[in-house]
Each structure stands twice: as structure tokens, then as C-alpha cells.
Symmetry: C2
Subunit: 340 residues, 2 copies
């Protein structure tokens, strides 16, 4: 028996919340890692991080960091991707980039493996992984799209602070403790308190009145389904939850679909777990989804207010399927397709 091929893997942004989760998921899923090179800013230089029972030392991310790597996961933010991804590709690595930098580039596949794995074929060295709020939605929409077509989607999100990275998490932790103690709440990352509050504001505002986060849900969905005709109307809201994003999704399908048929389709689809038994008070919640892989779907019900209307509630861990897990699944698919 031939020895399994292994890959030299880099993680740029290895000390951040997504980079840390990528490392964990590579281990959990036994991705065939040969070398693992952890890259981060100078601040983390020399830091030791565990992997496969040993420790790996963090090196400083730079243009010369990539020699010999087969694959680099980028989760170091948009500016770092812009600066260093071209160098990684030039050094011969394939990059799976978590930032929004390359997502809308026509030469870059934007991939959710359950939805459009075939878009990986013929990649040119960069593959983008979509925004967290888009990923879980398109996984849930995919079986419906394939079965009966989709006319229009109205989606309201309930997004956790981990989507903002460590500073968002710190704001919620600190402000919650302050509020519980009866102290004044202090601001850092968010412009208003997030503890016991909601902000209908994620990423910056565009002249249209939509936020960039909302526009991403529109543009990325069109690109992933390769279908500009899907009507998309998103409202993105930050909520005082640590992990897992939730979405109230209203779909108008092209052809009729009963809620029972939808439940069956969704339950059979890859990456989805249906939790939908209201009589037993079973429905997805972000606390239950935290740390887990599936996209959870519940509250599936017909919407009689429109022809072929359907409502459901969709919850998934934004650090896992919404970021790190999707990136590792892309890597697995590249291996399967012999594209690495």
C-alpha cells in the first residue's frame, strides 16, 4: 500500500479565532498535514501552539513565508490577504482565503462545497470562502434551489459577536460583567453597547443604505449559485450571543413545495441537520449549535402570504461552518479532485 500523500500547510493568522479553529479542525478531521507552518503578526512571534500532540512555533507572516507550502489558509484579515496572498501563490501554494478581498474576482472560485464544489476545477491558485452569514444560508437553500428553484429570499440575521473577532467577543464579555455588577458599560469595538442590546449594523454602510455585510449576502449568493436572478433582501443584525449565527429565512420558490417536502429535502441534504419538532420544543438555538459542524434548520413552515412561500430558521457556528470548517472542507475537496 502506498503511503498517503501529505501536504505542507500554512495558516496565516494562526493566533486569531478563525486560525485557531482551522488548526483544531485540521486535527479533528485528520487532514493529511505533513508540515504545519503557523504564521501571524510579529506580536505572536515565537509563541508555541499545540498540534497533533506536539507544539508548533509561530513565525512572522511575510512575503517570504511560503516557500515549500502546498496550501495556505488565510485568516488574517483583508489587509494581510491583499498584501500576502499573491506572494503565497507566486511561491506555488494554493490559497484558501477567508477575507472578502478576492471573493468577487471572476478568476477566483467562491466555494461552499455542499453547493458548488465543481467551481474549484480550474482554479488559479486562490479560492475564496464566503462570508459566514452567506455560507449557512446557501447550504440551507441549496436543496430547495435544486428541487423547485428560488424566486426570492428575505433574510434577517441574528449574528454573534465572534463574527467580529476577539474585540467583539471582549466587548460582550466586559460589558456583560459591567452590567451585571451595576457598573457603567465601556465601549471599545462596537459604537454602542452590545450587551443586552442589538445593532442593526455589521461592516460599514454603503450609499444604498445597505451595509457591506448585507451586500455580501446578495453578491456572494448570486456568485455561488451562478444565478443573478435570485432576489435577495437581507437585514444583518449583531446580537449579544458569543458564537453561532441565526437567520430567519423567507423563501419564495419557483414551483410549489410543502413544508413536509421541504423538511424531507433539507434532512437529506449534506451538511444540514433538521431540528424541527415544535411540539417537543425542538428548534435550533445558537447555544446548542456552538462548537458543532452542521447547519441546523428548524421552524420549517409554509408562508401563505405569497405564492410558494416558505419560512425557516437556520443556525450554525460562524467560526466553524461559517469560516474554518468551510475552508478545511474546500481543502479536502481540492485533495479529492486532485487539484492541490
Amino acid at each position: 500500500m502506498a503511503a498517503e500523500r501529505t501536504f505542507a500547510v500554512g495558516i496565516a493568522g494562526a493566533t486569531g479565532v478563525v486560525g485557531t479553529t482551522v488548526r483544531g479542525i485540521l486535527e479533528e478531521r485528520r487532514f493529511p498535514v505533513g508540515e504545519l507552518r503557523l504564521l501571524a503578526s510579529a506580536r505572536s512571534h515565537g509563541k508555541q501552539l499545540p498540534f497533533q500532540g506536539g507544539a508548533r512555533t509561530v513565525a512572522v507572516l511575510g512575503r517570504d513565508s511560503f516557500a515549500g507550502l502546498d496550501l495556505v489558509f488565510f485568516a488574517a484579515g483583508g489587509a494581510a490577504s491583499k498584501e500576502f496572498v499573491p506572494a503565497a501563490v507566486a511561491a506555488g501554494a494554493t490559497v484558501i482565503d477567508k477575507s472578502s478581498t478576492f471573493r468577487m474576482d471572476p478568476a477566483v472560485p467562491l466555494v461552499v462545497p455542499e453547493v458548488n464544489a465543481a467551481a474549484l476545477d480550474g482554479h488559479k491558485g486562490i479560492i475564496a470562502t464566503p462570508n459566514c452569514s452567506t455560507i449557512q444560508m446557501v447550504v440551507a437553500l441549496k436543496p430547495i434551489y435544486d428541487a423547485v428553484g428560488i424566486e426570492r429570499v428575505v433574510v434577517s440575521t441574528y449574528q454573534s459577536v465572534s463574527g467580529s473577532g476577539q474585540r467583539g467577543v471582549s466587548d460582550l464579555e466586559r460589558q456583560s460583567a459591567q452590567a451585571v455588577a451595576g457598573d457603567d458599560v465601556t465601549l471599545d469595538f462596537y459604537p454602542y453597547p452590545i450587551a443586552f442590546n442589538l445593532l442593526p449594523h455589521i461592516d460599514s454602510f454603503l450609499p444604498s443604505g445597505y451595509t457591506k455585510e448585507e451586500q455580501k449576502m446578495v453578491d456572494e449568493t448570486h456568485k455561488i449559485f451562478a444565478d443573478q436572478s435570485i432576489g435577495m433582501s437581507p437585514t444583518c443584525v449583531r446580537v449579544p450571543v458569543y458564537a453561532a449565527h441565526s437567520e430567519a429565512i423567507n423563501v419564495q420558490t419557483k414551483r410549489p413545495l410543502t413544508s413536509a417536502q421541504a423538511r424531507e429535502l433539507l434532512a437529506a441534504a449534506p451538511g444540514i441537520e433538521v431540528v424541527d419538532d415544535p411540539a417537543q420544543l425542538l428548534y435550533p438555538t445558537p447555544l446548542q449549535a456552538t462548537g458543532r459542524d452542521p447547519v441546523y434548520v428548524g421552524r420549517i413552515r409554509e408562508d401563505p402570504s405569497v405564492r410558494n412561500g416558505l419560512n425557516f430558521w437556520c443556525v450554525s457556528d460562524n467560526l466553524r461552518k461559517g469560516a474554518a470548517l468551510n475552508a478545511v472542507q474546500i481543502a479536502e475537496e481540492l485533495v479529492r479532485r486532485e487539484l492541490l
Copy 2:
């Protein structure tokens, strides 16, 4: 000058969160209260509560509590309304009832004064005030409905725990403190933790898969606008916020309306305050709306995914406009119309 007429007023459920707010708002708005009779369960018998610089003693709510009263606010829950409202009406009082008991009774006006005050004319002794999530939505929809008609509404709510009463508030307080301290979270009112979590579940589930809370938003909107043709698709979600409900509202109007026109209409409408300047990070949040009277509207933007589409974000204090304030405004309107 003739002395202003005063009214003998009762509050049934005077020690609850809504009853307490009714008492405060009667005082704030200088409603012409002559006698004030505070009624509650035996547990609160003899309790002293402040009003207009003095103290009033709580009496036990019973069938013989109402002699001599002109007006009784009921905020003691559905069972108490069912048991005691008929006695109050028989004793000659007009009842403004906060519970859902009589809302869909064709003989009972269901009133939001900014929307359908004229429905009060010819009342038969009972007036119902709608569900909190309905009230703020219909206030915001009214100017749009009048100007261009409404085809369909898709609404996702973000509802605070005060809508569940004191036990909901206690769950969030206790669980937040437990979580901050690193202790296990204990359950009481809600079936799952509400601290740092979301529950897509308000009131009980119907066979349709919708909750009663969601069905109320459909039925009450139809009754208040006296228009069954408005398509309504609600998803109601409990969020870890103490006060003020938020709603992401997507409207398809019958005739075109630009976001600028919508902003103008909403800003000119009674009961609404537009907070909508994204460039200055101005949008409504529940913390800012807490303790205030208006229905706040922001994030107003056209929805290009459908003909005549519009999105906005609507926030209001569910204990005030969503309950106590709306009830007192109904009383004021009854006085104005000489219907008391």
C-alpha cells in the same frame, strides 16, 4: 371655568410590570384621575404604591372590585381578564384590556390610536389593546399603507424578555450573572437559556408550525387595518435584551415609494421618530428606545429584489407603546371622543 372632569380609574394587575407602567404613564401624562383603585392578587393585598405624591393601597382583585369606576385597565393576564372583565363592564366601567382574550371578538375594538382610533366609536364596554409586537409594526406601517397601499409584509422580530413579564426578566438577570461568574446556568421560565442565546419561540406553537405570537401579528394587523388582504409573514424570536422590541420589516407596497419618500412619510407620522443617518451611525437600538415613547424607525432602504420593495428597522419599548402607553392613549382618545 368649569372644573375638568375626572375619572375613577382602576388598574387590575397593578403590581405587574405593565400595571406599574400604566400607573407611571397616567401620572406623566396627567390623565384626569379622580380615584385610583389598585387591584392585584391576594399576595399584594395592602401593599402601598406611590401615585401623585401620595400612596395608594393595593386591594384584592375580585368580581366586586369595580363599583363606581369609570375606567379599568386590565393587565393581570388572560385568565384574570376572562374572569373579571365581564364583572367590570357589568358594574358600568369601560375596560381597556391588555390580554389577548377579547382581541379577536368582533364586538371589541382592537385599537392603536395612531392607526384606527375611529374603531372606538360605538364600543360596548371593552376595548382591547394589541400584542406588543403588532403595535409598533402597525404604527410604522400606517403612513405607508395610507400613501401607497401594502401588498405584503415579511417581519422578523427581536423581542425583549420584559415581554414575558417578571419571570422572563429574572431568567435573563440570573442567567447572565451565572454565566459571567462562570457558573452553570439555571432554567425557570424559558425552556432553554436566554442569556447569550436566542429562542425562535414566543407563546405556544400552533399546528401550522407558527407560534401564537406570530399568528397574533397576522390576525391583529388584519383587524386593525380592517383589511384581510395584507399578506403577513412573521417570525418571532426572543433575544437577550431587557426592554424594547426590534423588528426587521420588509414591505411590498401596492404603488411605488422611494426610500426618501418613505423617510418623509414616516417622519411626519404621529408616534414615530425616524433615526436614520447611517453615515453618522444613527439607527435605533433597543437600549436607546428603553423608557421612551416613540416607535423608532431607521435603516430605511429600497428593496430591489421585488417590485415596490422597502426594508426598515423598527424599535419601541414594549412596556410603553407596546402595552401601557397604548392603553393610556386609548383612554385619552375615549375622553376626547366623549366615550367614557
